[in-house]
């Protein structure tokens, strides 16, 4: 019994990490139509940003802030400098996939050049495990759970209660009509890439905190579960990304503890295929992608 509840507890921690990453990926896709294969590298940038801050003597909270800002800037630059041209031309999906995959390679190799290819680690407080209800969590995992929930809550608030959030949802529903409603589409899309870059980078900091050490492929190794969660929920839906993340996070951790850690990704793909066979547009999507909270 404790193996199962422990696995579910770890699964919830994984789920919150995946939910942050998948929400960011999903929103970027829904406003611009770009499936960002360099999304994982935004997580990696966040982790290395926090590492640099720690090496400069700052604490982890300041490190997370610096990591988040770095990811936001890189996310914005990625769209503003490279991808915007392809979006404006109405480039086919295969081109944007190839371009973002290329950006991923460039970023990974650049990080490797700067920091070396050896694994590094973030310094976190001594791990103390404690039972909360049936679950056993370390203090780091609790920080990730609470911090992640706060970030998701803030994202919901932005999407549902602010003009910026309504503009994001309008653009992902119907960009031409958003223009005809006076929404500054280009500016909103750029701000979405900035916000989601920061969100992904914070997910990267949390992911690095939960790992004993990490390297330049920290984020790209996380890409598969991110895609799976976003697609399972119905791409463009933050609700969907959270539901997808819960399913992927819990099932992969439980299966990993009973089978082997190597089966985690196999499970994620299996769930993805099964869901898409039954619901081709994902669990929450009724028609085309439209960002909803």
């Amino acid at each position: 019994m404790s193996t199962l509840t422990d696995a579910i507890g770890y699964g919830l921690v994984s789920a919150i990490l995946i939910a942050l990453s998948a929400s960011a990926f999903s929103l970027q896709y829904s406003v611009s139509g770009v499936p960002n294969f360099a999304h994982g590298d935004l997580l990696t940038i966040g982790a290395y940003g926090a590492l640099v801050a720690q090496r400069m003597g700052l604490n982890l909270a300041a490190g997370a802030a610096i990591g988040g800002i770095s990811g936001g800037i890189f996310g914005w630059l990625m769209y503003r400098v490279v991808l915007r041209t392809f979006v404006r031309r109405g480039a086919r999906l295969v081109f944007t996939v190839a371009v973002t995959a290329g950006i991923a390679l460039i970023l990974e190799n650049s990080i490797g050049l700067i920091f070396g290819n050896s694994n590094v680690n973030l310094v976190v407080a001594n791990q103390v495990a404690r039972h909360i209800g049936p679950f056993l969590w370390t203090n780091t995992q609790l920080v990730i759970l609470i911090g992640g929930a706060v970030l998701l809550g803030a994202l919901y608030f932005i999407l549902l209660r602010t003009d910026f959030g309504r503009a994001i949802r309008a653009i992902s529903d119907n960009p031409d009509l958003a223009r005809a409603s006076g929404v500054r589409v280009e500016r909103t899309v750029q701000m979405t890439w900035l916000m989601c870059g920061a969100l992904a980078a914070l997910a990267g900091v949390a992911l690095a905190m939960s790992e004993p050490n990490f390297g330049i492929y920290l984020g790209s190794d996380f890409l598969l579960v991110t895609f799976a969660a976003a697609i399972i929920g119905g791409i463009g839906k933050v609700n969907g990304a959270v539901i997808g993340a819960l399913i992927i996070g819990v099932v992969t951790e439980v299966s990993g503890s009973y089978l082997s850690a190597g089966f985690k990704q196999v499970c994620a793909i299996t769930i993805l295929v099964i869901v898409l066979l039954v619901r081709p547009n994902g669990l929450l999507n009724i028609q085309r992608a439209g960002a909803e909270a």
Binding site: R166, R179, A180, S181, V183
Partner: protein
């Protein structure tokens, strides 16, 4: 300016529009007055919707000039035009289907904070059905309600000129009549309206000025009654005034 010295709401001069190398609209000149309804009619494939896209900034002109209340707005993006007194209601996909009725209206209000509450009340006065359905997702509205919402959303930006693309397409005669009633009330409130319409009879009856578009060029310009009395034109391009074209 009009002949009577009134500033035109919109003046398109020798507008050429197209996609890539193909030209759809050939040197069209159109004048729309404030507080009046200007109808654009024409057979299928005459370029009505392309012209509408050009007038609202979704399609930049190849050549020509576009003026909005005397200001040169040639090449302006739609969102900039909307922030400068233009409202646009597309024919299809004219509401945000994943957003609630109120959120649809709120989006239009983004251009006019902090007066949005007052404007929303005015829209609800004009379309009481929307007030009742304000928490519903637009996806679940009937075709007629969606068209009301589309008009309401456009009015939230407080335009002085409203472009409406085929507002009665696919609607029952009852709803089509209601849409025209609303367009007339909108005109009475002082707004100019340019409408592309497939319901020829209603357009000729209610519009102050009519343009007949054929193969991307203006074949007739004048009043509805003049066009109705030109039997050859009406029969050749509109199938007679007592029948409806297919847009």
């Amino acid at each position: 300016m009009t002949e009577t010295g009134v500033e035109l709401a919109m003046h398109a001069r020798s507008l050429v529009l197209g996609y890539g190398d193909s030209r759809i609209i050939h040197e069209v000149t159109l004048r729309a007055e404030p507080a009046s309804i200007t109808a654009i009619l024409g057979p299928n494939g005459s370029g009505k919707s392309t012209l509408m896209k050009g007038l609202c900034g979704l399609l930049p002109p190849v050549s020509g000039r576009l003026e909005l209340f005397g200001k040169d707005v040639t090449g302006w993006e739609t969102s900039k035009l909307v922030r400068n007194s233009l409202g646009y209601v597309p024919q299809v996909k004219n509401v945000f289907s994943s957003l609630t009725v109120r959120e649809n209206l709120d989006l239009g209000a983004a251009t006019c904070r902090p007066l949005c509450h007052e404007r929303m009340e005015r829209v609800f006065e004009l379309f009481p059905d929307l007030h009742v359905a304000q928490k519903k997702t637009a996806r679940v509205l009937s075709g007629g309600q969606r068209n009301m919402l589309a008009l309401g959303r456009a009015l939230m930006t407080e335009p002085r000129l409203l472009l409406v693309d085929e507002p009665t397409a696919g609607l029952s005669p009852k709803y089509a009549e209601a849409v025209w009633d609303h367009l007339i009330r909108i005109r009475e409130s002082g707004l100019g309206v340019i409408v592309v319409e497939q319901n020829v009879e209603a357009a000729l009856e209610n519009a102050d000025a009519v343009y007949l578009l054929v193969s991307g060029s203006v074949a007739f310009e004048g009043s509805g009654s003049d066009l109705a009395s030109d039997v050859n034109l009406a029969n050749s391009f509109l199938g007679g005034v007592d029948r409806k074209t297919n847009g």
